[in-house]
Every structure is written in structure tokens, then in C-alpha cells.
Symmetry: C2
Subunit: 304 residues, 2 copies
């Protein structure tokens, strides 16, 4: 079984490729929940949902949300004079309602998200990194923003430089039993090509997570989020700059020192086992190829 | 100012008529919340919303929900294999989200419903009877149903006879400050032509409500829910039968003994001041006429 740590689009694309390589029963994604938000009274889990939609082949062309979704509820909220900066399509909202209903009934986030996966017909598992709430806050331009507001309202990397990233609630969080079991059982642990600070950072900083990965029998490899020297999507550079991480595969490999046994990138990396391949995942074939090569590379490290 | 106690359609129609008679600033509806339901993770208030939609001239022809609403979210839930017996249109759901978001943030139901009214552009007030949760449960055919399930899934009056009506939570409920103030300030208190057992019953049984009405300076008059000897809509007869209330204006007047100073009906009533008029409210003109006559009748009793 392959465990993939994933945030947004990069991790989700790798997971979709891995689904072709190992099949749904052998894939388990541990997804960042520090981007979660309560909005319009419902619980939205952007990263776990993004991964689930990619796995279900239902991701929309715009890069998030359900393909071909409609916007009736958002239109109604806007007509009612309500803020709608966080855009949820009607089908996207329905998935959030499935999750929210279970959370209100006292179920864990892991169980609630499992119902979303079932609703989407996805048989691969996507596990929230923790059942406890962790919420990324970003300090920029002298103001502290909840993560989604920073990304959408403040314009993320286009705004003032990031001064600080705070993971509220992280000290009280723990990996769920399901996450610990997946990591312990995995044949390979793959850190997806997601933002090392705001996507992978929260996962690795859940107390007990690094220990679980270090103690796992499986090798751990990271796929660099930089392709052709740049992040494919999102404000990765801005967050790396603040965290003192060089925006290169080498920088990411060093940031994961002590966690990874190897790195996959399209540029040379030294000081750790490295696989240099084309890592652009812009087609189903490319996603399958990168996932397959990554798994093969991880397997080559298991004897080490 | 006129205070109207209302449940569903009958009370809402009278309130709409009264809006024409006294204007939005002078109208306050106290609405039953014992039909409220948490479904899909959101808080739905069918009676307060029905009144609000009537006042905003947005009620749909089907008798509930927002006129011309769409059903994208319900379709998505059904596609996801989720139960959708409680049908909420997209615009209807948006109103529920406005309310739910405020409730999750710790606001009172009265405040949350005020936001719904504002969203609808309704200037008249519609107050939940209480901020505390009261939930009607119906025992029928040897089974106890939450109210909405009894009405929608069990088929209400068409199913087995009602054995018992239980108002869960009523002992811990209290009228809100806003409700007490409206009753104290009212020039007339009108009990709308709603089901005396499941619509008006919960309102009158909130501890302190009868006392507040009895102590109010204003006369209290009830409009009979029976028109031409029958309830216009809903399973009024079935619930009256169980409660030992004759399904006539006389029966209703007797059920409200000690609360009302007069009754408005389209049939003779004895033992209490009575106004006999045509009470069918099937047109805007009829609604205004019934409301106006009821208010005039109440005023005629104020000297008493």
C-alpha cells in the first residue's frame, strides 16, 4: 500500500497517477486539513476534497470544485446581500453538507470525509491528517489572516510578503488511528509535490506524525513541487521565502531532512538519494509515469 | 402594533393581510419553532420561514419554499446516494445557511432569523417563539416520529391516527425578550388560523407565554382555522381529534379559553365574543379584509 501526503493540486495529481499504478485498494492519501474553513455554517475541507475530486475524475477545469457545477446557492446568498468570497458550487456544497451533517452528529472528521468519498464513488482512501481542528493563519502586511482569506481576499503571494505562518490548534492535534495505521502498513510513503510550508508543513507538524513516519518500515520519498525551477501553481515561493527554504528541489529536500530517504525532482539534488525525471504532470500519462517512477524509486530505497 | 401568533400557511396568510393593514413597522409575528429541524447539517425553521416568505411575497405556488427555486443541491445529494425526503430548494437552503452560520457563531435563533428576514428584505418582524430548541414529536401507529418525518415520510393525517403529541424541550424554553416586549406593547394580539395543537399549541405552551398574553394590555382574538367546516390545509382534524378538540370554531374557541377575548370565524360561536365573517383568504384582497376585520374586532374588545 502507498501512502501519499498531500495538500492541494500537486499532491492530488500525483495521487491520481498513483491510483492508475496501484489501484484504489492500495492507495491512501493523508491530506492537509489546516486549510479547512467553516463558512456559511458548513465545514469545508478544500485539500481533502480536491484530492477526492481528482481521484473521482470530477475535478473542474478551473482547478477546484466539481466539474460542471452550478452556482444557485452562491447567487442566492449574493442576492441576499451575504458575502460570497468563498465560492462553493451547488454540488461542492452538497458534499460539504454530507460532511457537516455527520460532524454535527458527533462523528469524527475522518468518518465525515469517508462519507464524502463514498458520495463521490471513490474507493481509494483520503484521510484527514487529524480529527482535531488545525487552522493555518498567515501574518502579512501587519495583519493576521485566516488561511482562505489570505489566499482569496488578500490575494496570497501577490499581496504583502508573508511574515509568519501560524498553525493554530496544532499542539492539540494528533494523527488519527487510520493515519497511523496507513503509515505503519505502507510499502512506500510519498510526500507529494505540494507547498512544503502550508500544505505538507501542517501534516508533518501534527504531534506524533514525524515519529510515525520515522518508525515506519517503508522508505519515504518527496516529489519536489518545483517544475522547471518554478512552483506549478500557488504561492509556494512566497511561503518558502518566509520559512527560509530555498525555492528549489535542493531546498525542499533539506527542509524534509530527517523525514525523507530520497527525493524526486527535475533538477539535480545532492546529499540525499535522488531520482531526476521530468516531473510535469499535465496529462494522465504524465501523472501515471511520475507516480510509477516515484514508487519504483522508493522501492529501490527499501533495502537501505 | 399587532402581534400575530402563527404556525404555517393560515397564520402566514393572515400576517400578509395584516401587513397591508398596519404596515411593516407595526407588525410582529411570533412563529412556532417546534417544527424546526436540523437536516443536511443546517438549521431549518419551516414556520418562521414560511411567514417570512409570505411577508416578502416570495412564497412559491407549491405552498412552501422560495418562488421559482432551483434544486441543484438536492439533485447532487440524491446523486450522492443521500436521503432527500426533506426537500430544500437552493434559495431556501441559502436562507438556512444564513441562519445556520449565525447559530454556529453562537448567536440566538431570534438574531439568526432576523438575518433571514433582512436577506429577504422584509421589514416586518418575525420572531421565533423561543431561542431554546423545542421539537414536536408525534406518536402514531405505535411509533414516535420527529415532526417533519411524521408529516413528510409517514404521510401525516393520511397515516395511522395520532396517539400523542410530545413537545420535547418545552419545559426548558422561554419566550425571548423580543417576544415578551412585542406582546406587552401590542395593541392587539391575534392567534392566527393555524393548527391549534401543533402550530399554536407549542407557542402557548412555552412557559411564561400564557402569562405574558394574559397580562398584556391588548385584547387577544383567535381566527378559526376552519373554513366552510374544514381546515384549509394540513392535518388539523387529526391532531384536534387526538387532543379532544372539536374540529369547529367552537372547539377551537374552547381550547383557547382563558387566553382569548374573542374569536373570528365563518360559523357561529357561543360563550365568547365572536365576529362571524367569511374567513377564506385565497386572494390578497381577502387576506387584507380578514386581517382588517379581525383588527377592528379586537379594537372593539379593548374596552372590555
Amino acid at each position: 500500500m502507498v501512502a501519499i501526503l498531500a495538500g492541494g493540486t500537486g499532491g492530488a495529481k500525483l495521487a491520481r497517477g498513483m491510483l492508475d499504478v496501484v489501484g484504489p485498494e492500495e492507495l491512501c492519501v493523508v491530506a492537509n486539513t489546516a486549510d479547512d474553513i467553516e463558512v456559511y455554517g458548513v465545514h469545508v475541507s478544500p485539500d481533502p476534497d480536491l484530492v477526492a475530486l481528482w481521484l473521482a475524475d470530477l475535478i473542474d477545469e478551473r482547478g477546484y470544485g466539481v466539474r460542471g457545477d452550478t452556482w444557485e446557492v452562491m447567487t442566492a446568498l449574493a442576492d441576499a446581500g451575504h458575502e460570497t468570497w468563498f465560492r462553493l458550487g451547488d454540488r461542492d456544497l452538497a458534499l460539504c453538507l454530507v460532511r457537516t451533517e455527520l460532524l454535527r452528529a458527533g462523528r469524527r472528521l475522518t468518518e465525515a470525509h469517508a462519507a464524502v468519498l463514498e458520495a463521490l464513488g471513490t474507493r481509494a482512501r483520503v484521510l484527514p491528517m487529524s480529527d482535531e481542528p488545525v487552522r493555518t493563519h498567515v501574518r502579512a502586511g501587519g495583519r493576521t489572516w485566516p488561511f482562505q482569506e489570505f489566499m482569496i481576499v488578500a490575494g496570497a503571494g501577490a499581496g504583502p510578503p508573508v511574515e509568519e505562518v501560524e498553525l493554530r490548534g496544532i499542539a492539540r492535534a494528533a494523527p488519527s488511528t487510520e493515519v497511523l495505521e496507513a503509515i505503519a502498513r505502507a510499502e512506500a510513503i510519498v510526500i507529494g509535490p505540494s507547498n512544503p510550508v502550508i500544505s505538507i508543513g501542517p501534516i508533518l507538524n501534527v504531534p506524533g506524525m514525524r515519529h510515525a513516519i520515522a518508525n515506519a518500515a517503508a522508505p519515504t520519498v518527496a516529489v519536489s513541487p518545483f517544475v522547471g525551477g518554478r512552483a506549478v501553481k500557488g504561492p509556494t515561493e512566497a511561503f518558502c521565502a518566509q520559512a527560509g527554504i530555498a525555492a528549489t528541489a535542493q531546498g525542499v529536500a533539506e527542509a524534509y531532512a530527517g523525514v525523507i530517504d530520497g527525493v524526486v525532482a527535475d533538477e539535480p539534488v545532492s546529499g540525499v538519494a535522488a531520482l531526476e525525471i521530468d516531473t510535469l504532470m499535465d496529462t494522465p500519462e504524465a501523472r501515471g509515469r511520475v507516480a510509477g517512477a516515484t514508487l519504483e524509486f522508493a522501492r529501490s530505497l527499501s533495502g537501505g
